[in-house]
Structure formats: C-alpha cells, structure tokens
C-alpha cells in the first residue's frame, strides 16, 4: 500500500510558483477577509465611530479604525428589542430540519439508485435532477399557491418542506456518487456476517461520511442564506435571519449598527459549522479494503 507522503523535487519553476502562490494567497485573503473584518469591528462601534474613515491614500490614518470604545449595544438591541433570538431559532430549525430530512431520505434513495438495477433507473435519476433545472423564482408563484392552499405559508414546517424539495435532488445526486465508490463486497461481507440489508446499509454510512458532510454544509448554507423562500413562504410566522436583517433597512432609518451585528450573528454559526464538519470531510476512507 502506497503511503500518502508526497515526494517533492525542487526546480526553479516550482520555487517561482511557490512565491507566486504565496503572493496570490495573501492578496486573496485581504480581498475576502477585509469586509468580514470591517463588519465585525463595526458591530462593536457606535454609529459615529463607525463612519470615521481615513482619507484615501492616508495609510498612517489607519489607526482610526481601531480608535473606538467597544460597545455591545447593537447586540443588546438585536436580542432584547428586536426579537432576533426567535429569528435565529427559526433559521436553525429551518436549515437543520431540512438538512436532516434531506440526508435521511437522500441517502436511502441514493443507496437504492446506486445498488439496485431496475427498469427506467436512468430516467428516474435524470428526472430527479431535472426538478432543479428551473430557477427558483420561476416556480415561486405556483409553489406559493400550493403552500397557501395547504396552509403552510408562514409556518416552519412549510419552510422546511420548501427547502427539502430543493435540497433532496442534490442530496441524491451527491450521495449516489459516494455510494458508487463503496465496493459492494463490503455489504456482502456484512450480510454474510449476519446483517440485514438495512444494517448493511447503516454499516457503510461511515464510508460516505465525507459526502454526507459536504451535503449537510451545502444544504444548511442554502437554507441559512436563503432569502427568497424565507421572504415569501416563511413570511410572518417563520421569519429567518436574512429576512429580519433586511427589515432593519427602513426608508427613513438604516440601522447600520444593528445590521452589522446581525451580519456577525448570521455568519458566525456557519463558520462554526465549517470547523466542526471539517474533520468528516476526509476522503479516501475506502482505500485498501477490497483487492482491485
């Protein structure tokens, strides 16, 4: 079995390329992290301090950014006056709920599609993804009408159902690829060892964990950041963070401080999720189990 140590050979070209990548990555980090940094810092500033900006080209004035007395008043405002804890709970339930349901249904469907041959399988498979071919806006009106008549508008179950409708096809597509890579012999061995088909399926789930992890991230990100569904189907009873944040922009009064704080509150959980899920995203688990 080959180890995974990479053998490196140094040439002028690779050295040059290393320099180039270092510079590129540095620039890229500034480009992506600076806005988040500004958002983060501004959320702790009073409104007046937040708009103190040095003149263009005045690099020595950069200290102005850090010259402020930190305050938590925007956060207090969000959670005490604006009911953001409820919106956050809504976001969590909607995103988490649809992710869990999509993973359960999706992995079972993907497993069947990967393992069992039946007539019309490829057509079915294509049909599943074709449900995602129309842009969300295009189906919004009929979807609203349906949800309306089912009394699902403005409820969390309605929102979860809406997100699941859109996440499930992805789940099936992503996970089928992962199941295809798990040798069937492993389940056969399980079944001879005394497992039922379902137990054998459960036993190989750890081997598709990278797929499930990747999908959960995608699914939660989709729901968490979604505005369209939340605004239309979730409106009223199931208001989520993006919709609530949007409502901080009022015609006479844009509440910059609260918006920045809401941005932080919305972004942080996703960063945590990324950290937690990262260790499940290791691929190559199936290596070496079966002689090829």
């Amino acid at each position: 079995m080959a180890s995974r140590d990479v053998v490196r050979y140094e040439t002028p070209l690779t050295r040059g390329f290393r320099w180039f990548s270092a510079v590129f990555i540095a620039l890229y980090l500034v480009w992506t992290l600076l806005p988040i940094f500004v958002m983060f810092v501004s959320s702790f500033k009073d409104l007046l301090e937040a708009f103190k900006i040095p003149a263009v080209g005045d690099w020595s004035g950069i200290g102005v950014f850090f010259d402020f007395t930190p305050t938590l008043k925007h956060y207090r405002d969000l959670f005490l006056n604006l009911d953001f804890s409820r919106y956050m709970a809504n976001s969590l339930v909607a995103a988490g709920g649809s992710a869990v349901i999509s993973v359960i249904l999706g992995s079972m469907a993907a497993y069947s599609l990967s393992r069992i041959d039946f007539k019309g399988k490829s057509d079915l498979f294509f049909w599943i993804i074709s449900t995602r071919m129309a842009p969300v806006v295009a189906v919004m009106v009929p979807l609203y009408a349906i949800f309306r008549s089912l009394d699902l508008v403005g409820t969390l179950p309605g929102l979860i159902l809406a997100y699941t409708t859109f996440n499930l096809p992805f789940a099936i597509w992503i996970l089928k690829g992962f199941f295809d890579n798990v040798p069937y012999a492993i389940e056969e061995a399980q079944m001879v060892d005394g497992a039922t088909r379902f137990q054998a399926f459960m036993a190989i789930l750890p081997l598709v964990a990278p797929g499930i992890g990747a999908f959960i991230v995608l699914c939660i990100l989709f729901a968490w950041n979604d505005f369209l569904f939340a605004a239309i189907i979730g409106s009223g009873g199931a208001k989520t963070l993006p919709v609530a944040t949007r409502e901080l922009v009022q015609p006479q009064n844009i509440q910059w401080g609260s918006i920045m704080a809401a941005g932080v509150v919305t972004t942080l959980p996703m960063m945590l999720l990324g950290l937690v899920i990262r260790r499940y995203l290791v691929t190559g688990l199936t290596m070496g189990a079966v002689k090829e």
Partner: protein, 364 residues
C-alpha cells in the same frame, strides 16, 4: 454443521452460463474443494451458496432443506471473500468481531474469540490497525479470521491463501485443514491451485468452463482422471500427452508412436472396449511414470534429446525433445545429461492413460 447438496444448479449472467447443471453432494463435516482455472465459475458457485447471487435454476440444499430463497444472514455460513472485503473504517479487531457482534454475543466472549483466532493466524500484533495499513497477505489473514471467529454451519473459503508467501501458505494449509477437522465444520474451499486442493480436500470438484468435470477424492482425481482435461490440469509438473495409434500385431494390441511402441496389458485392452485397432488415442503419462537414462536400456525405450534440465531441489525435471513433441520426465537430481545429448525414456507400463483423441474421454 451441514450437508450441502447442489441439485442441477445453473448460474446465468444474462445469456452467459457461468455454472452449468452442477450436481455435488458434500457430506456433513467434509472438506470439498472446488478446483478449476480462472473464470470457470468457482466464485459464482460459492456466492450462490452464500446467498449473494441468485440461483438461476436448480436447488442448493443444506441438510435436505432448500435454501435458495434464504437471506444470507439466515444461512449461517462464514465466508472468506476472494477480494478480502474488509471494513475499511474498522480496526482489525472490529473487523473480526463484527460477525459476533451482529449475532449479539457479549463483549468478553468476543474478545476471547478474536484474540484466539488472531493468535492462530499470527496477526495478534495487528489488531489495532486499519485494513489500509496491512499488506495483502495480512489482509487475507484478517479475512480468514473474520470467518473463523464464529461457529457456522458451513465455511466458504474463496481462494483464501492465494496471496501469502509459499512458506506461510504451506503453514496455513495445515492450519485450515486442522481447524476444519477439529471443528468438524463442513467446508467448501475454492482454489485454482491443485496442490492446495490435493493436500486438503476430502473431495475435489474439478470445474472447467462452468461444467463439473470430475468429483472424487484427491487420489481418484489424480490417478483416474475422467478425461484429458482433468488429467492435464491436475498434477505438477503437468501430464505429458502424445498422440498415438493402437495397432494390432498378431492379436496383441500395441500403442505405437513414431518414436516408440508399447504393448498393452490385457486389462488395458479390455478398457479400450472395442475402440479397436488403427484408432488414434492420446496417451497421457505423468513425468514421474517415466524414467530416463543416457544409455539404451533393455526394454523398449523412446529415443530423444535432452532439451533442458530443471533442478527442483530433491528432484530434477528433464525436458526431452522428441521428433514432434516435448515431454517432461521426473528423475533424480544426479542425472547428468547435458542439453543436446541423446537419451532414452522408458514408460512405466502400469501408469499411463489413454484418452479418446476426439472427446478426450479416458479409456483408462
């Protein structure tokens, strides 16, 4: 413990028949080896017994109970897979413990059984590793370990030691045979290595292109092959074949070849049962039924030239070139003939076979 019976079993993959009309009876507690070249349907047969492959036609019975429609877990068999099929995310210990866990055994007993099996297989120091950190031979031993921790009705071993080195293989042959004897568990053992089949099995089923050629004890298969194909497949070095004719010299039948003639014994004549004279037959003779010398012996001998000598430790194989063929002779390592020299080969008159030149069926 079970008796396994195959009754007119067929396996078809689409139009292609991988196993054709198989009939085998494997008594309770016995060791059946399925022997054949690559692609002859050995694994397909095995997988039908395990319940991993649908049985296209016919029945497989355990103790007179038809098991065609039983799920693998209800058949109570333990299998060693040709491709190991270990669980990559589990340690060696967990791999071997899996069948016990699935059958609800308690922790202490599991630990006991696994440790015992690991000791037998000399993998005790590997229990904490993952399969990808093992060599091919070690994986294979883990796969065997997973099968023997349990006491199933039937063992199914699919080429379980094909990837071990020669020494370990010889050792494992002994261990597996001993284990099967001690436990008294019926064993179906697939191999393409005739030495394995010969040395371990009570019964060998020789298969070729999906058809059962011969079912018999190792001795029968070796000494009384039913056709030229079995004769050529079993035995190492392989049997020599020469195309000869049966001629009638004044009431005495003779086997004649351009290089030599051999008088048939009365019982051999009987076996030809009227295949008559001037019939073409294939003569088959194993290298150890031939003797070679550099001087012309008194009895009729085949004249040839030494082509090449191969020293195999205690024996020497001499390849002798005849006018239209080459034959291999087993002799003592002291044999001194150099390539190119003339030599004389005599046939042990009791130990040769005659096969129908067309069908390959054995006369004797």
């Amino acid at each position: 413990m079970a008796r396994v019976t195959f009754r007119n079993v067929w396996k078809k993959y689409g139009e292609f028949a991988a196993v054709k009309d198989l009939n085998i009876d494997c008594p309770d507690g016995s060791f059946l080896s399925i022997l054949g070249p690559s692609g002859c349907g050995k694994s397909s047969t095995m997988r039908m017994v395990a319940g991993l492959e649908h049985i296209s036609a016919g029945d497989i019975l355990f103790d007179d109970r038809r098991i065609n429609d039983l799920a693998p877990k209800d058949r109570d068999v333990a299998m060693v897979f040709e491709n190991y099929a270990l669980y990559p995310h589990k340690s060696v210990f967990e791999n071997m413990a899996n069948p016990l866990k699935l059958r609800g055994q308690e922790g202490a007993r599991i630990k006991d059984r696994v440790t015992q099996a690991a000791k037998l297989l000399e993998i005790g120091h590997l229990l904490e590793r993952r399969p990808q950190e093992l060599s091919g031979g070690q994986k294979q031993r883990v796969a065997i370990g997973r099968a023997i921790v349990r006491e199933p009705k039937l063992f199914l071993f699919d080429e379980p030691i094909a990837h071990l080195d020669a020494k370990l293989r010889a050792h494992m042959r002994g261990e597996i045979k001993h284990m099967q004897r001690t436990l008294g568990t019926t064993m179906v053992y697939v191999t393409h290595d005739q030495l394995e089949a010969m040395s371990m099995a009570d019964q060998i089923a020789v298969m070729h292109e999906g058809e059962l050629q011969q079912l018999g004890s190792p001795r029968e298969v070796y000494n009384k092959p039913v056709n030229a194909w079995v004769a050529g497949f079993v035995g190492e070095p392989a049997m020599n074949f020469l195309t000869c004719e049966i001629t009638n010299a004044g009431g005495k039948l003779m086997l004649t070849h351009p290089d030599f003639a051999l008088a048939l014994k009365p019982e051999q004549m009987k076996c030809l049962n009227g295949a008559g004279t001037a019939a073409t037959v294939r003569m088959g003779v194993r290298p150890d039924a031939l003797a070679i010398s550099m001087t012309r012996p008194a009895e009729p001998a085949i004249t040839g030239k030494v082509f090449v000598n191969e020293l195999l430790g205690g024996d020497m194989i001499v390849e002798v070139e005849l006018a239209d063929a080459r034959i291999r002779v087993k002799t003592a390592p002291e044999f001194a003939g150099a390539p190119g020299e003339a030599c004389y080969v005599t046939v042990n008159r009791d130990k040769w076979h005659a096969f129908d030149a067309v069908t390959g069926k054995a006369f004797f």
